[in-house]
Amino acid sequence: MATPERVVIAAAGVVTPIGQDLEAFWSSLVTGASGISQIERVPVEDLRVQRGGEVKKLGRIKDWRGVPDCRASRLLIAAADDLCAQAAFRPLPLDPARVGVVVGTALGGVEEGEKVLAGDRGRRRLSQALYDGPGWALARWLGARGPVITVSTACASGATALAVGADLLRAGEADAVVAGGYDALCRFVLRGFDALRSLTRDEVRPFDRRRSGLLLGEAGALALLVRERDARGPRLGTLLGYGSASDGFHIAAPEPEGRGLERAIRAALADARVSAADIDMVSAHGTATPLNDRIETAALKRALGRRAHEVPINSIKGSLGHTMGAAAALEAFMCLLSGQRGLIPPTLHLEEPDPECDLDYVPGEARPGRPRVMLSTSMGFGGCNGALVLEAAR
């Protein structure tokens, strides 16, 4: 079988609770900063847990004229603004019809739906409320007139979006793709997770014996993808492979043995044409729910074998909260920056290791290391499992 054309991640842009550009995001990760705070933008007085990874002031863009008054769209566009600043990508340097947009989200513009149902009759609210509304808003802001695709594989959406973006390039449907993920904190999702009792009142402690749940976060994370033969100038790295698999087990709970995640990892390794022995680092989904971290540990052990015990594995959700549709894209960028900068961010708030999570989860401080090939894993509602294999540029 022919080797698929390699797709380069030329640049990335982010807006997160710990920094509103890629450099600030990276600095906060390696210094162990936390973006968790009291949620201020939406009412939370009636909720059991009132904290999360909120972006306090969306300060990147001063003039929002022409951009919908929609938090999700604005997170995406703020991330795109960072991307464009790094990659000189606006105005578009190539035929707009050859530029695609692929975004992943768990929630789309659902907050706009809340406004509509509360009586807001704004002309475009309903259109923005559909889950593909923010993706189209991003395309308009960029001036991109190629394919516009929204994927919603729950909390694996960011990984799916990067993979679909790479497929668009390989299929020749576009010459450049802006791909990634986003989600905004809103009443809808805060109420939902509060009702599920998935949120913790403690710190988010991935793989810690005392872990008691996750906190939600909001973010936008976008990459500029191009075919390797078209790549010019600096780059972050290469997207080597992607795999997905459904649990087929439960609508909200992961399969107890992590078989779906294991299949996704194996598929990603096969797609990347690498073996477990080639993996130098793992970015775990690591939500800090009691079930997720144990299951993920078991799946990594089975999929990677002995290598799972030899490589550093981190989770950045202690710093950011769970940013849902943005999470996998942010974690992919973190992996690539680790390979470039020679530092592996720590798993924040991991202090008392869980005997059932007995891999090297990088507690404490950032660790020197220059991984070349990285695996990033994601799991979501509905038994969505996704895995990316990435290679850092040197």
């Binding site: 079988m1 019809a97 768990a106 789309g108 659902v110 739906g113 809340e114 509509v116 149902l117 009759r121 309903l126 259109s127 409320a129 559909l130 889950y131 593909d132 189209w136 007139r145 190629g146 394919p147 516009v148 695709i149 929204t150 994927v151 919603s152 594989t153 729950a154 799916t160 679909v164 497929d167 299929a171 449907e173 809808f188 109420r191 939902g192 997770f193 009702a195 599920l196 795999g243 997905s244 698999a245 459904s246 649990d247 087929g248 087990f249 439960h250 609508i251 909200a252 078989r259 779906g260 299949r263 598929a267 979501g380 509602f381 509905g382 038994g383 969505c384």
Partner: protein
């Protein structure tokens, strides 16, 4: 790209709601061909819904088992569409179980009903997980044991055409041995909201749940999309089916047993997409088994 062959196709359409297997005679609300709305908007109906704006609704299918007690209508319709697909393929559910079956789900707006119910907290507590689009294919995966690669696209008819192309790509690459393309659209619970934007859609809105079962084939497939700025959405006739339109069109094409290529097209938010499927005898209903 090599075209996949059709192994089965199940389409449940609001234009023929009586054909829904297991449909409850006492559906939650509304009935096919009637202007309708959920109970909470009965008083609003005449104010907010133009009598010319019809929604051809599908009833909530009955499905035995406690597991389905809280399942949403869109989930149950997805399961019924897969049942219909298996019936069309003249085979049992075991044929699609396992890790070698991919599942691609497409919808523009089916999650609107559950999102609304959760936001408005109507009729008790909507289980939050059911608000996620991902839960519709999840129910299919759980019920039928589908455990292979998956994808979920949000959008109208062009997204479905793209999903068929993705399925063909997965089959060609050997990533899976068969692929299901599932599309579900329901409208009734949000009838008043659609009516507010009546000029954005072609009425009636036709609720549709459809599942297409593909395996490797011998023909050729080409996909193209372009942005032409027109606002019309969807391609299916009659009315509007959003993402489910192309599968309903394919069903109609098979029913005509027409020779020659199948051309499926659709429009959404100014994107126009076209899928050209070369002749393959497996397309015809009579040879689908």
């Amino acid at each position: 790209m090599k075209a996949p062959a059709i192994r089965g196709l199940g389409v449940l359409s609001g234009t023929e709601a009586k054909s829904v297997a297991g449909a409850s005679a006492g559906a939650d609300w509304g009935s096919a061909g009637a202007i309708s709305g959920p109970p909470h908007m009965k008083g609003l109906k005449n104010e907010t819904v133009d009598s010319k704006l019809e929604i051809l609704a599908l009833p909530r299918p009955d499905r035995p088992g406690d597991r389905f007690r809280r399942a949403t209508r869109e989930c149950l319709l997805a399961l019924a569409a897969v049942d219909a697909m298996l019936e069309d393929g003249k085979t049992s559910r075991e044929a699609i179980a396992g890790e070698r079956t991919a599942l691609l789900y497409v919808t523009a707006a089916a999650y609107g009903a559950s999102n609304r119910a959760f936001i408005e907290q109507r009729g008790g507590v909507m289980h939050f997980a059911y608000t996620a689009p991902a839960v519709v294919p999840a129910e299919v995966a759980i019920e039928f044991g589908v455990a292979g690669p998956y994808g979920i696209l949000i959008g109208g008819a062009p997204a479905t055409l793209r999903a068929i192309e993705q399925a063909a790509r997965l089959l060609e690459a050997g990533t899976c041995d068969q692929a299901l393309v599932l599309a579900v659209e329901i409208f009734e619970e949000c009838a008043d909201l659609y009516a507010r934007h009546r000029r954005s859609y072609r009425w009636p809105l036709v609720e549709t749940a459809a599942c297409l079962w593909l395996e490797r084939g011998a023909g050729a497939l080409s996909f193209e999309s372009a942005r032409d700025g027109r606002r019309a959405a969807g391609a299916a006739e009659p009315g509007e089916r959003f993402a489910a339109g192309p599968l309903a069109d394919l069903r109609d094409w098979r029913a005509r047993a027409t020779a020659g290529p199948v051309e499926l097209s659709g429009r959404w938010r100014g994107e126009h997409a076209r899928l050209l499927w070369s002749p393959d005898k497996s397309h015809a209903r009579d040879s689908a088994a």
